[in-house]
Symmetry: C2
Subunit: 356 residues, 2 copies
Amino acid sequence: MTILPTDVAATIDRALREFLAGQRERMLAIAPELGELVAVAGEFLTGGKRLRPAFAYWGWRGAGGAGDGPHLRSLATAVGSLELLHASALIHDDVMDSSDSRRGRPAAHRRFGALHREGGWSGSTDSFGAAAAIILGDLCLTWSVEMLRGCGLPPEAIQRGHAIVDLMCTEVMAGQYLDVLEQARGTQSVDAALRVARYKTAAYTVERPLHLGAELAGATPELLAAFTGYGTAIGEAYQLRDDMLGVFGDPAHTGKPAGDDLREGKRTALVALAAQRSAPEAVARLWRLFGDPQLTPDGVALLQALIRDSGAPEVVEAMIAERVEAGVAALGGAPVEPAAAAALRDLAIAATARPR
Amino acid sequence: MTILPTDVAATIDRALREFLAGQRERMLAIAPELGELVAVAGEFLTGGKRLRPAFAYWGWRGAGGAGDGPHLRSLATAVGSLELLHASALIHDDVMDSSDSRRGRPAAHRRFGALHREGGWSGSTDSFGAAAAIILGDLCLTWSVEMLRGCGLPPEAIQRGHAIVDLMCTEVMAGQYLDVLEQARGTQSVDAALRVARYKTAAYTVERPLHLGAELAGATPELLAAFTGYGTAIGEAYQLRDDMLGVFGDPAHTGKPAGDDLREGKRTALVALAAQRSAPEAVARLWRLFGDPQLTPDGVALLQALIRDSGAPEVVEAMIAERVEAGVAALGGAPVEPAAAAALRDLAIAATARPR
């Protein structure tokens, strides 16, 4: 999906490349071995969908920020910093979940594990991989703040931007913890899953990026409130679509093995609904298979059938449609620049649509 | 050791308590379960030596900053933020090393693991503990930046402070990675150990905190250079003392089980020197025992004897004394306020002295 004007996307890419090149220089001045950390960070910064920078860009435009001119490079740097934050979240997330792959490539801790194995080094390969990935995630987190700080917009604008990002970091980490907690507790509630989605996804992916862009341009409280309405609804819809893809998605599209969420035992609204809507014996079979790391392809197919037969996917599709409608409606009466409002309508659909 | 004036120490404590209370409120508004994260963070913020805030405070005083008056609360907030950064580093460090305890109490990941066990939750206790600790370390890292940003000093001062902290974060994480790397490679070189100490300890604990305080007050390049001379030397001496304590220290003083560094196989200058200075058969025995997680108290005693008999401890003591002298000398001709110069001389000795 095209979610950013081509020149803006290219400027964001360039800003990220140049920022990373600066960090690479700083790292190599300390020790040549540190080049590896920057290389893995660089891989995480290429090939993403740039969803958070896109919402931030349209937040800026929505608040009346210019789509071209002298501020564009600074703006691209500011919104591009969200990709570093996201790289940090993904790298740490994969350590926490022991995920092997990300976007069809080895997860960061596996990359470092391979380095350990190839070097014939001592100690545990997994421990080395995890330690290096924790450090790299920490680096990306501090670098994201540094990149925003140095973006070149007026200091008051940056200050307002940081206040949003501070909030966003606390929220996404709170959401992460709740996610891990609900998983451990074996929660089977749609509400609990939606609470996690509210902070881990909606605030982090849609609402706060919009607020960041809007605050950088100097937004009114009315606009921020409209973006909250839009962001919460569209963000939840995005998570619900992701839940569907995690169970039924095509590995070629998701970059993850089929049924990964089922093996991992991810507590989603989809699964909670399936359990609610199934007969006792189907529920028993569902929980017996769900979360088994050794689940075979046949087991995945069986679980998919159980979930499909419960009717939960239709309910989730309806929830998605409802939220997309509510999100778009939230922009209706709000003082959003027309070009941005149109783009956000398109984005709402593109980010939550079934893959073709 | 008394390293800060009592009123300053109390103001730093208060600033940290109040900042955390604000975060607690923000977290509880999301979900009551998040109180646990803030509680564990709070434990990490009490009982530390406040070494980094102390160096930052004396850096400020050294550059002519006032020791009392209206700026004191703001300054305490700024330098106190380093304790949150340090909490983040310790929490993640303990996950990476699988350490059970910190300052005589359970490590953060063990605390969360206990929560998992007591709740009778599903999945792996260790994985839950590690995931929660990774998230909490991330939170403390972003909170430290937020605390500095909101300290209330003039914006230009804060801006200069952030530039130092950015550098400091990159350096400490680089040092952490090199540490993990040297460990895995089984490096036996004094130079490699000192390179790790330069970034992981000297820059992070002494040099950059001094620079932070100095930059907040508006320092000259001469003063910053003198602090680099002092900080590098004293920081290395501090690490060398820590290496000695890790092998010979009293658990009641270090808060870690006796011989913990030996079981962990920590590659220090002390151990590298011992290997260099021992006869081949002693070296063989040393490497056979070193890094064995199951090392018995007898094994610890044997390793201690091997290291002692090599004469390495005397060499390390001489290296410490040399660095303390060089560090103090670096302040000699520099434009440091006399009260701060005197305090930094005392601190150099207090931070690197043998425990009594």
